[in-house]
Amino acid sequence: MTLTRANCPSCGAPVEFKLGSSIVVVCEYCNSAIARTDRDVRNLGKVADLVDTRSPLAVGVEGRLDGKPFVLTGRAQIRHQAGGVWDEWYATFGDGRTGWLAEAQGRFYFTFPNRVSDPSQIPQLANCRPGMSGPLPGAPNTFVVAEIGSARPFAAEGEIPYELVPNEEYYFVDLSGDNGTFATIDYSESPPLLFLGREVTLSGIGIHREADSFDARERRVGAVRVTCPKCGGPMDLRAPESERATCPNCNALLDVAQGNLKFLETLQYRGAPLIPLGSAATWDGVELTTIGYMTRSCVVEGVTYPWEEYLLYNPRAGFRWLVHDSGHWSFVTPVSAGDIFDGETEATFHGKRFKRFQAATACVDCVFGEFYWQVRVGERSHTTDFVSPPDILSKEISNTEISWSHGVYVERDVIGQLYPVQRPLPEPLTVGMAQPNPHRGKIRPWAILLLIGFAMGLVFQSCGSRRPVFRQTFQLQPVASADATAVVFSDEFQVNAFENLKVEMTAPVDNSWFYAEGDLVNVETGLVQSFSMPVEQYHGVEGGESWSEGSTHSETHISSLPAGRYVLRLEAQWQEFAKPIAPTIVITQGVPRLLHWGLLLAFLVGGLVLAAIVKGSFEKRRWAESMFNPYATDE
């Protein structure tokens, strides 16, 4: 039978194991971690006092996950090898299940222990590398190794379902899957323990007391005034998660350690942030306070490329970044590695493909303000940027961690409107890697117009009536001289309104010419529409080569005439005036003009090509800044 009540071996106070799954309970009086066995209890050592992480959660808080109620019955505080602290809340469900709700940097992950029948399916710690992906037993999807690290539990409260030995170091691997799935492997035992779960929000798991807690927390943020241990000057701490801060008075870099400031070094340079620290602006409906500023740079082919990063913070939303690079700005949000397919030269995020733009080793040149990790000048990480304007994906990888972030290009004017900038914002000198192509939307209208123009032409070509209205061969008798003319009149014929007229003339000329001037005369109104038509046809042999030019046929088009009865008056001359000639005149109405259609299409194609050239030119200038320029030619 398992013990449920005992006395603390350290202080003798009564302790109670309320849950059947509990292994350890923390003595409320002396902070001893008391483990129970089948027969008695053991003192695992004293845990430290809980650090105030300003968590919105507490032991006893109830919630629902997928409709199943749970209650938080214990809490362990873990210190990361890099110095940070996170909370892990032990959740007990009504059906007996137990899970962990981990809380770090404003994000929450609910995981459950997963029994693995074949421990060899769990990757060994030595084989894990940040960024590597693969399956996990019990999970349908693949996971990406996001972090490899070690940690020590140092404080606890309530009941804990494992033998928590204070300050005993263990190794872990955090893995990220798609759609917010999450896994962690705990190497404190053999075989390792696998926990599977997903990222959650407090409101999503039915914990609504966060509002009050966050409001109280937000009041505290910005109100924590501390004294610099180096110079004694006042300074503000705005984020409880901060691990490093600089003194605005003496530029000392301080270890924060949950509010206990410790001098580390005096920084030579604090930079010149355009956006003042402490200023707040609303992004995506969340007010974010600027708490940190750093400059970083990379060196490519001997050239140093610097940029600035502003760390933004909101107690509910966690951390964001505002990145300024050569006059271009982007708002950056951390994303899970599991949501990204990293194809080296391409990356895919939420169905959108990004092209690799640059890869380099970034170095921290200066820091100013607060940071949630133990930042230091000279810190290096390998970064790769992928772009799909206006979006940008950034990967930073170190020996122990891979982190991805998603940025969206922000117009410079927006920054100027949102923040009380310290001086005029620099003008962009080059095309930004995520700068939207201002000519991007200009091809489509031209393509649409081209399609419409093509369709219009097809309709007019197919709907033209091509109605014959007149056809006659005139027998012209010889005239006295080449200057003399022969005049003939036709019979009356009907002409319709709103249809053009195509006049064709065929004259049997052979190495000679025929010329006629015609009048279409409305017999009712006297309206006269004149036209003229020459016909010439020549051929011969010259230097053994036969040649010919001209034709026995000629045609012209006339605008539509008012409807009515018309006669054709023809006055003609011809070169061989001494011989009779018999020209044939054919008049057709409603003849669609290919020439007009062609001119329209040429204009529209010209516009389309011009728009494409302008757009392509912008892209060329963008990629000229890239080390993976697809437009570059091998020289």
Binding site: W446, L449, T485, W513, V521, V528, Y538, Q573, H596
Partner: protein, 60 residues
């Protein structure tokens, strides 16, 4: 800005093309005039209206 202007011109060109096609308009037509019936029916009546050209100069 320029693109919008050019697009506007393109739309006008399309409308113009449609109008030309629907009304049977041609470009570069010789002028039209009126010759009253009494003039047309009198001998040499067209001469007073229609000055004959100076003579065709075609030929190879």
């Amino acid at each position: 800005m320029f693109n919008k202007i050019f697009l506007g011109i393109a739309v006008l060109a399309m409308l113009g093309y449609g109008a030309v096609a629907l009304t049977g308009t041609e470009f570069g037509d010789p002028e039209r005039d009126f010759v009253p019936a009494d003039v047309r029916q009198s001998p040499g009546g067209y001469r007073s209206f229609h000055y004959w050209h100076s003579g065709y100069q075609g030929g190879k």
